[in-house]
Amino acid sequence: MLEICCPFCGRRNESEFSYGGPAAMRRPERPEDLSAEDWVEYLTVPSNPLGPVLEHWWHARGCGAWITVRRDTGTHEIKPDSDDA
C-alpha cells in the first residue's frame, strides 16, 4: 500500500487513489494528422523501465484531482512531478 502525496490534500493512502497509467506521453492534439504507425506507437507501446517513471493517479476517493507523480519502479520512491507543481 503506497502513500501518495496529493498537492491539495497532502499524503494519503493508496486506497484513496486509482492508477491511471503512464504519463510520459500526452495524447496527440490532432490524432487525424498522425501516421498510422505513430498513432499505434502512441496507443500501444508505453515504455516500462526500471527506475523513475511518470504516472497518472486519480484521487478518486479524495479531492478528485488527476495528479502526476514520479515513482521509482525499483524502490517505490515517489516524488511529485516537477512540471505539475
Binding site: 500500500m1 486509482s18 500526452r26 495524447r27 490532432r30 487525424e32 498513432w39 496507443l43 497518472h56 484531482a65
Partner: protein, 981 residues
Amino acid sequence: MMPNSYRLKDGGRIDRSKPLRFQFNGREYRGCQGDTLASALLANGIHLTARSFKYHRPRGIISAGCEEPGTFVELLGPDSSGNRAATMVPLADGLKAKSVNCWPSPEFDLGGINQFLAGLLPAGFYYKTFMWPSWRLYEPLIRRAAGLAEAPAGEFDGREFETRHAHADVLVVGAGPAGLSAALHAARAGARVMLVDENAEAGGSLLDGRERIDGAAPGEWVRSAIDELAGMNNVRRLGNSTAWGIREHNLALILERGGEKPGAMLRNWRVRAARIVVATGAIERTLVFANNDRPGVMLASAALAYVNRFAVALGRKAVVFTNNDSAYASAGCLKNAGIDVRAIVDCRRNVPEAAKLRADGVRILRGCVVSEAHGRKRVSGVTVRSRSTGEDCESIECDLLLHSGGWNPAVHLFSQSRGDLRFDDALAAYVPVASSHPVACAGAAGGRMTLAGSLADGARVGIEAAVAAGFPRIPAALPCASEDSYSIEALWNVEPRGAGRKCFVDILNDVTDGDIRLALREGYRNVEQVKRYTTGGMGLDQGKTGNINILGIIAAAQGLALSELGTTTFRSPYAPVEFGAIGGTRSGPVFLPYRHTPVTAWNIARGAVIYEAGARWRRPGYFPIGAETLDEAVERECKAVRNGVGVYDGSPLGKFELNGRDASKLLELAYANSIESLKPGRGRYGIMLSDDGLILDDGVVFRLSKSRYLATTSTANADLVHRHLEFIRQVERPEWDVKITEVTSQWCNATICGPQAREIVEGLGTDIDLDPESFPFMTWRQGRVAEFSSRVFRVSFTGELSFEINVAPRDFAALWDRIMDVGAPYGIAPVGSESNHVLRTEKGFLSLGHEVDGTVDPYDLGMGWIMSGNKLDSIGRRSVELRRQGGAPRRELVGLLPLDPNMAIPEGSPLTPEGRKTRTEGFVSACVKSVVKERWIALGLLERGRARIGQTAHARVKGAIIPAKVVAPCFYDPEGSKLRS
C-alpha cells in the same frame, strides 16, 4: 492431575498464587499465571509434545519464542486457531490445545510408521512420485496426511476481529533494551512514537538474562523506562503485538492479541510510520548433528528463558553444545538452578576466559562436537567427537541437551522493507546494511551483541529517527551496563557417523542435510531453487533457527564463501497471522460492499429475489408471486410491460452534471456522435469510446440549459465514465472551463413503462403536459409528479412508451407507493432485472457486458451512423477508422432464432462453422424466452453476421449442436412506433 514436578521453588516472573488449569491432548494439567503453554508443559515434565510433519518423529519444545520450530498446536474452544507455536500461547484458565501432525497422540502416533519408511521420502519426493497420472489424484490424501492444523469450522461467534489504522513518526518494533532505548529517546524529542512488542511484558532479552543495569537488576531499568513512556501522551505502547510485515512506504502490519481472556480480540494494526526502528533482537540458531530433533534437545537461550522467566527446570542432567560464547551463560544459569551440567562441548579450540567465567566450574570439552544424540522420545545421552582426531571420544548420559549455533540478527522486517544484507564473518551471520525505505535496525537486530552496545545503539537510532522525522536532536542518556564479549566460530553441520542418522536443518519441515546435498546433486544450484525443492525454511517458522545452516551447507558444497552465496528474500508474515484479523471488521454481512436505493426494503418485503447488479447495487432480479418459478414470474412481468404497464427502479443509473462554458466541447470529444447540436430540453443516445476504438459505455445525454448537461451512464460503468470524463477535463483539456458533479445518488428514478404508462403518470397528477406532441420521445421536462419535484425523461430501454420519473431520494419511497396505488387497477407489475433483460433483448437494445464486451465498435453493432458526423476528433475515432481500413472480418450483431423454437442456447455459447470443433466465429450474447414471439430468441456476435442474414449459424454446446437462423437483431417493433407513442 500431575504435580509441577519441574517447577523451581522460587524465582521467575510467574505468579504461583494464581494456578491455571489447562488441557493438552485431552489431559488435564496445571500451570501458573504468567506461563506460556510451552513453559507450563515443561513444568509438568512434558517434553514429547509433537510429531514431525513428514516422518512423524517425536518432537519437543525447542525454543522459548516465536522462532519455535518444534511444537505447533491447534487451540480449541472460543480462541480456536490453528498452527500456533506453543511458546507463543499465553496460558489461560481452561485453555484447550492439541498437537498437530499426530493421531491419536504424540506418544502413540500411527503416522510414525513414516519414520521407518524415511528412505522412501527424499527431497522432492512429492514432485517425483505423485505426478502420474495426475497430481490432483493424490493431493487430497497428501494434504490430510501432512496435516498441520485443521481450518476451524463454522462461524466465529465468540471471536472478535478488527483492523485499525495508525500513524507514527517513529515506530519501534521490539521492547528489549535497544527498542526501549530508541523509544525513550525518540519520544523525549517529541516524536509521535509507537512501541510494539510480541510479549505482554516489555524487556525482551532482559526478562531472561541476569545482566546488571546501573548496578541493579535489569527489571528496575525496564520498569522506569515503561513508566516514563506511559507518562508521555505522544507514545502508544502495544504488548502481545507482533509486527508481521512491512509494506511499501513504511506501512507496518501488526497483530495485537488482546490479552489472555477467552475470546479476546485479535486486532490487526496498519501503521504508517515516517521512520521504523527494527529492534527485534537476535534469534539463536540450531546446530546440525545426528538426531538434533529429539525431545529434550533445546536451544541454549531457551534455558535462560525457562529457568529465569518461568522458573522451570528443563531436566536433571544437562549437556551444552556450542560454537560461541553465549551458551556459557545458559550453562551457568542451569548450574545455579541446581541442574547437573555435565559438560560444555565447544567446537572451538580456544574459549575466551570471559565466557568460561560465566559457567564457572563446569567441565569444558574444547575442540569437540556432539556427533549424535541418543534416545527416542526423550534425549538420553550424547556421543562426543574430537575434531582433531575425528573419533568419538566420550559418551555422556543426560536428559537435556542445549545447543547454540550462534545468533542471527532478526532482520526479517528490515529485509521486507527492501533492506540489503551482508554476511559478517565475525558474527557468522547476515547483518543489515541499508534500506531503500526509512527503516533502521537497532541493537542485536543490527548486529550489536552486547547489552551496553544495544542500549547505546538504540539511543542513537532513536535520536536519528526523531531528527529525520523533523524533531530536535537530543543528547543520548545511557545507563551503565555490562559489555559482555561475544565470539563465534561458524559450524554449519557435524557429519553423522554412518547413513540413516538424520541431521535436521529444518526441524519443522523435516528437511535434513542429506536432502540439501541430494538437491545439489540433482542439479539445483542457487539458494532459491534448493529451498523450494527441499521446502527447507518454508514452514510456519520460516526457518528462523535453521536457514543459515542450509546456506552454510550449500556454500561449503560449492566451495563458496557465504558472502558470495547471497540469501533469499524474507517474506511476510514474520509469524502466523489469522485470516480473520486481516479481514478485521469486514466480514459477514459487510464482507462485500453493497448499495441500496430507498425501495430496496420494499423490494425485499415484496419477496423479490435480490441480485447483485453492477457497481455493488442490490437489485431485484424478479418478483415471484406465491409459488411462481423464475420463468413464470418473468413471463408475467414481461407481459405486463408489453400489454399493460410495469415499473422498475432505475435509480442506480450513473448520472453526472456537466456545467460550464466548454461542457459541449468536452462531450463532443468524449462521445463518438455529436452532442453539441442537442437543444435544451432534449436528450440523445450516445456512445463513448476509449482511444483504442472500442466501446466504453453508452447512455443518454440531456441538455439542461445552454451550458448544463446531464449525462447518464450504464449502472456498472458509472465510476469508469466519471474517471474518464475527469481525465479528459483535467489532463487532456485543462484549459477548458467545465465542471463535473456526480448526481447518481441525488436522483432516484421510477421507470413506468408499457402502453398504459401515460395513464399512470396522469393518475399520479402532474403539471407536465404529457401529450406526445408537446412531450415527445427523447425529451425531458421539469415539473411536479404526484406532489414531488421531478425531472421526467422520455427514453426507453424496453421498447415501450416509458416515463422515467426522477425525484430526490427523500421522496422516492412515497412516489413508489403512489405509483403502486395508482397502478393497482391497471395491474401494474414491479419488474426486475431478469424481465428487463428479456424486454431489451426482444428490442435488440445493447447491454454492457453482453453485446458490448470490450471488443466491439459501433459499426459491429450496426450503429455506424454514430460515427457518420463530420467531427474531426473524438476519442476512439482514429482507431476505429484505422482498424476498419484493415478490412479484416469483424463480428457483427445479429439476431438468432433457434430452429427448434423451444430450444434455448446457453448465453455465452460459441458459434462455430457447422458446429464443428474449430475456431469460433462468434458467440451467443443473450438468449431469452420471448413473450411477443412466444419462442426462444437470441442475440449474438457473428463474424460477417450482417451478410449472413437468412443463413444458419451453429452454437456448439456440451453434447449438442444447436442450429439457429440468422436474422436482424430486433424482434419487436422495429419501426419504434411503440416507444414513440
